[in-house]
């Protein structure tokens, strides 16, 4: 199945590898500000892809995925500061960061597995609102339980720079993360589980009747999606250097993950990249001077999108392409 999928998508894969190679030289040619914009695009792409593992493939739209950004960030931070200690982080920062990353991902995976059983029994809007609740509750607990230092803030240990500038280090980390998530999403989509998920998205009851282990599939995807989102949360937190509840549990993250997918085309693999690139360029570069209007613009963008292009750019392109082909073949 995989070999066939690789062959079928060889042009896309070649294009992706070319894109990755091009992305890898960016920090050497562009200005630091533009590298930061690149960083944001990579983070957003990764988040969009991690969200789509559950939302796009299985049709379970989470409205509270920022829960895992925050949980990953705080779990990793507290682990590095309290369990490993500053001494360990100073002598071996790379190993410390790797362990922190694992801790953050593990925390998200465990949390997701715990809430999966009750809330994945809910569908559609009920699941979406339940996830909104998960994010809200986690952020409140982080904020009000003193040991988590959510309101006070947590200073994260620095990670080694390998002679690169700071923004370049995080750029590469996020690039690696995004590529890994893309590869995972590709594998999932073209494996047996991907077919099962697609069947579930169309009609869960029928899929179940036909023998698709829906319960196992959706829990797997939820845990996977949570752990990957958590990994991005850990990297993002380190790039900030100092985190509070408000800086990692951000409602606009939850919303944006959906927006990138909607804008690009939901359920596709290029969709999140297109969506993230457009949104980041629009909000950071074009509208960069209206920082206090960011939330407003994100909201307005979302509203305009749902009303004007419900299938997203890729969906719209695919529709146009198909109708063009149909017209050509229909013509005498």
């Amino acid at each position: 199945m995989l070999a066939e999928a690789l062959a079928r998508h060889r042009w896309w894969i070649a294009l992706t590898l070319l894109g990755i190679a091009a992305a890898a030289v960016v920090p050497f040619v562009l200005m630091p500000f533009h590298v930061r914009v690149g960083q944001m695009i990579l983070l957003s792409t990764g988040l969009g892809l991690a969200w789509t593992l559950l939302g796009g493939f299985a049709g379970y739209w989470s409205f509270g995925h920022t829960a895992f950004i925050g949980l990953g960030a705080f779990a990793a931070g507290l682990f590095e500061v309290n369990a490993l200690g500053t001494e360990f982080m100073r002598t071996d920062p790379l190993l410390g960061f790797a362990l922190g990353l694992l801790a953050g991902m593990a925390a998200c995976a465990v949390a997701a597995a715990l809430v999966a059983w009750p809330i994945l029994r809910l569908r559609g809007i009920y699941f979406a609102v339940a996830m909104l609740g998960v994010a809200q509750v986690l952020s409140e607990l982080t904020n009000s339980i003193e040991a988590f230092q959510g309101s006070l803030g947590l200073v994260l240990p620095r990670i080694p720079a390998f002679g690169l500038r700071t923004e370049a280090v995080f750029y590469y980390l996020l690039l690696i993360a995004a590529v890994i998530i893309l590869a995972i999403a590709f594998l999932v989509k073209n494996a047996r589980i991907g077919q099962g998920l697609a069947a579930m998205r169309e009609d869960e009851d029928t899929a179940r009747m036909l023998g698709v282990p829906t319960e196992r599939y959706k829990i797997t995807m939820f845990v996977l999606s949570a752990a990957l989102t958590g990994a991005l949360g850990v990297i993002y937190a380190h790039s900030l250097g100092y985190i509070t509840t408000g800086s990692v549990y951000r409602t606009d993250f939850s919303l944006n993950m959906i927006v990138y997918n909607l804008l690009g085309g939901i359920g596709t693999l290029v969709g999140p990249l297109i969506g993230a690139a457009i949104m980041v360029l629009l909000t950071q570069v074009v509208l960069g001077s209206f920082l206090n209007l960011h939330m407003f613009l994100t909201g307005a963008m979302l509203v305009a999108l749902v009303v004007a292009a419900p299938k997203g750019i890729m969906g719209g392109l695919a529709g146009t392409w198909q109708s063009w082909r149909r017209r050509r073949t229909a013509a005498p």
Partner: protein, 291 residues
Amino acid sequence: MLAVQTIADGLVLGGLYALAAVGFSLIFGVLGVVNLSHGAIVMMGAYLTWFVWHTTGLDPLLAIPPVMLVLFAFGYVYQRGLIQLAVDRSSLLASMLVTFGVALMLRNLLVLVFSPDFKSITPGYAFNYLRLGEVTIDLVRISALAASLALLGALAWVLNRTRIGRVIRATAQQELAARLCGVNARHVYGMTFGVSAAFAGASGAILGIVLPFAPPDEANWTLNAFVVVVLGGVGSPSGALLGGLVLGLISTATSQLIGPAFPNAMMFLILVLMLMVRPAGLLGNAFAASR
């Protein structure tokens, strides 16, 4: 005596929750739309009342009718202009996204116009209180509870006894049949949304005199409304009242017994338990669609 005091506080808060949730419940029941901007409309009500009170010195309870009128108009236009468009062009889930987007826009606007700081409305009688045995209740809280109950009663009367109420209920039951009987369903949807927004605004006004408020609270009020609806059932003022009172009691008892950080966590736990054990709500209607 502490227990009685907790119950009294819980009931006051519960009345407020019920009033804040009843509009959400109505929209959900009639249009099938989950309005994630409901909390933001509640906050709009609070800020409008604060603005009226701050500039003219009008008693906040007297400011409720004009605030309701303004928000009714807002709700009507919002539904006819945007929500209906989203439902027509894609799906109910997409319409929920639209309301999510609008919630963010409103929150941002409130921050820009009124600053992100906490505000509170303190009328002249804010520090008077009533003593019944050993339980003390501020006059503000009593008037808040009374106003909440009166408004809920008024809505129940409108829904059950007036023509527009009958039309709304008919449309909720069977849109097609209602339209065949000559009901302009779209107008009814707009009216329902307007009524919902008006009551959200009223609850905002009352919340403003009981608690300090800030724009980001909107998320909490939306979630509260959802929990109230899950507890009490969809679409009826009595369900909202029951759900609201239960939620108010749970919330005050939790902060009293476990700690002030946990009411929301407890609420969420109860939400999940309810959805799993009794998805039809305590009064038992219309949550079958949740699984």
